[in-house]
């Protein structure tokens, strides 16, 4: 029995955690419970990787095949993206899709069908995925691709571990000439400017914006847009940097509106001074928070919620303005706020992205937060949007089912493979799957 939570430290559950070293022991465990869930590196924020019996796959972190001519890789599902990049960047290969932290597993990348700063052009992680192998409820192992067991493929990509245990992945890497990224920053004085900038720079390979959510009125949505391109200069190997760790949970009062404002001012000041393109190591561009291990401790011991939603493009300006002003009215102050433009949705039943804008807000957990989030849910849904399951710890069954139109198809596939008799997480039970 262990006490475990996701990255947001909310909720915390007491449950069994196993870290098998053999396929046979995973198979054996499938007989023991009806609440089993596969787990990677626990970088999901809420309760998607929590269940009464959690099977942590991090021991399965081996490379099984690599073709240095084509960049096609087969590896086990527990390997972290950080390990993969450490091995392959020096050889001139990169992950075509990568999230805001490198400390996630291949299995987690598939199960959340993660998106990166290039979603507007390249889509979700499944776009670089040829196939994966999946241990289903019976203990059998199936290879799934768009042509083989296709329904399981579409259900598993973005399916939050609810179809089985992902064992291996067959993916395409992307060739690079340098481990450096050419970064250009633009500051936007208002949300409208920012959305115009996103439009104007649609062809930029990578784009993401940090929003100052404390700014109001004429400064609403004040932000810095960061664009990135793989650099053609600089070497493929980088000097090692020491990670800085936050040793203890900071007291809750450290994160109040003044300290956040100071943080944002500081950030903006930094941003404003560097609008010339500059060369940064890929980690600095993609994983700014990875250098500070355990940064979630900034939020104190009560934990936090990352509220990430997407709204369709047509509703974008109105919806974002409406939501940002509502947050102000409720005097909740998100610490980190990140906005991105999404390209079109894909075929996977539960993948999160749809063409439009996604905003991720980090809130310290407190009593007034949860009622506000319920109000935001209703607003997001009224604009035709939805919430990201990988970040969610609280949305209701109705919210989920009203915003993921393919959930019934998903559930049918789960029933077909008996997945519902084994694989159920705290999250899946909450949202009625």
């Amino acid at each position: 029995m262990v006490f475990l939570s996701g990255w947001g430290h909310y909720p915390i559950i007491a449950a069994d955690l196993s870290r098998p070293a053999h396929l046979a022991s995973i198979r054996q465990q499938l007989n023991n419970s009806a609440s089993i869930i596969g787990q990677g590196h626990q970088r999901s924020y809420g309760d998607s990787a929590l269940a009464q019996h959690m099977i942590r796959m991090t021991t399965f972190d081996r490379l099984l095949d690599f073709n240095p001519k084509t960049g096609v890789l087969i590896c086990e599902a527990g390997i972290s993206l950080q390990q993969l990049l450490a091995i392959f960047v020096p050889r001139g290969w990169f992950l075509p899709i990568t999230p805001g932290t490198s400390y996630i597993s291949m299995g987690g990348a598939i199960a959340s069908d993660i998106h990166g700063k290039n979603h507007h052009l390249k889509g979700c992680f499944s776009e670089c995925l040829y196939s994966f192998s999946l241990m289903i409820a019976s203990g059998d192992i199936l290879e799934c691709s768009r042509t083989q067991n296709a329904e399981l493929f579409y259900a598993t990509c973005g399916g939050m571990g609810l179809t089985g245990i992902i064992l291996t992945a067959h993916i395409q890497l992307k060739a690079i000439q340098s481990a450096w990224i050419t970064e250009t920053q633009y500051s936007a004085h208002h949300l409208n400017d920012l959305l115009d900038l996103f439009e104007a720079h649609h062809q930029a390979t990578y784009s993401v914006a940090w929003i100052d959510t404390l700014a109001q009125g004429t400064q609403l949505g004040r932000s810095i847009l960061m664009l990135g391109e793989h650099s053609a200069i600089g070497s493929l190997t980088l000097a090692k940097k020491n990670n800085r760790t936050l040793p203890i949970n900071l007291p809750i009062w450290v994160l109040n509106r003044y300290s956040i404002s100071a943080f944002n001012q500081y950030y903006f000041y930094q941003g404003k001074t560097t609008t010339q393109p500059r060369q940064v190591p890929y980690q600095t561009f993609f994983y700014p928070l990875d250098t500070i291990q355990h940064w979630y401790r900034l939020y104190g011991k009560n934990g936090f919620i990352q509220y990430q939603f997407v709204v369709p493009k047509a509703a974008g300006r109105t919806a974002l303005t409406h939501i940002l002003t509502t947050i102000h009215q409720y005097q909740q102050y998100p610490f980190l706020s990140v906005l991105k433009a999404f390209g079109p949705a894909n075929q996977n039943y539960l993948s999160f992205p749809m063409e439009g804008y996604t905003l991720a807000l980090d809130f310290k957990l407190n009593n007034t937060l949860l009622p506000l989030l319920d109000i935001l849910d209703a607003m997001v849904l009224s604009y035709g949007g939805r919430l990201y399951l990988a970040k969610d710890a609280r949305m209701s069954e109705t919210t989920f089912k009203n915003s993921y139109p393919e959930w019934e198809k998903f559930q049918r596939v789960r029933h077909q493979w008996q997945a519902h008799t084994r694989f159920n997480s705290v999250q899946s039970r909450r949202i009625g799957l």
Binding site: S18, R19, A21, H22, T59, R62, L63, L64, D65, F66, I87
Partner: protein
């Protein structure tokens, strides 16, 4: 490029070490009993950059097979620059206290089979006139305590044997290293509650790879265990025996 033999190559600690050697481009030969796991690990190490990886599978309890296993490794590597012995078996204490055959079997795996391998390695080192051997024992061998005395006794037997060899090969190009890990989060200890004293196999692997470059007679990994064990070794019986250590 070093020629490296790893005995017990499917152990989590050995695998973490092997990855560093693969990354450095060394040539590896792996011995372990689980062939399926060996195939996967060999493949992984090759992709990570090892010059060459070969392997053979066998149950080490059958000591009469050791000569042949060493012969096979030599015909692939030709010489042994580095040898790591990592296999081990931790019987659940509440079982080995009562189950005599199991207790003795664990002693056989942890002590007898290890000593057997060491003999063959030393023969080869003497012919080569050089070589570095490291054996993973344990902090458990530093003092007999109520928890799992048979495991501790086996590890202590190996440690004492290594001390003898260190004396024999003093001032030669043959280096004998005793590696004593503390608590490590591996399949062997899957059932244990983990706390602050626990280390990851990657940390231990780094320590092992490092000590091959600068051989020492005995290292504790992580190093703070040197001080913990210093205290435990010096505790008078009448205090130790009142504890649950």
């Amino acid at each position: 490029m070093k020629k490296v033999l790893i005995i017990g190559a499917t152990s989590a600690i050995a695998e973490a070490t092997a990855r560093l050697w693969a990354n450095a481009g060394h040539q590896l030969y792996l011995l372990a009993r689980d062939e399926q796991k060996l195939i996967t690990i060999a493949q992984d190490l090759k992709i990570r950059g090892a010059a060459q990886v070969d392997y053979a599978a066998a149950d080490f309890d059958q000591t009469m097979k050791h000569a042949k296993l060493i012969q096979q490794s030599l015909s692939s590597l030709h010489t042994f620059d580095y040898v790591l012995i990592a296999h081990g078996y931790l019987p659940a204490a509440h079982i080995s206290d009562h189950n005599i055959p199991l207790a003795l079997a664990s002693f056989h795996t942890n002590a007898v089979s290890t000593l057997s391998f060491i003999h063959f390695i030393i023969q080869q080192f003497k012919q080569q006139k050089y070589g570095t051997l490291a054996v993973i024992t344990s902090v458990a061998g530093d003092r007999g305590r109520q928890s799992n005395p048979i495991y501790a006794a086996a590890k202590a037997a190996v440690s004492v044997f290594l001390q003898g060899l260190q004396h024999q090969f003093y001032r030669s190009n043959i280096h004998i290293i005793d590696i004593k890990p503390g608590f490590v989060d591996t399949p062997m200890t899957a059932e244990f509650k983990k706390g602050l004293l626990w280390a990851q196999p990657e940390t231990i692997g780094q320590g092992i790879a490092q000590v091959f470059q600068q051989p020492k007679n005995c290292i504790y990994l992580p190093q703070f265990w040197r001080y913990i064990m210093l205290i435990i070794r010096w505790l008078p019986d009448f205090i130790l025996h009142r504890t649950k250590l």
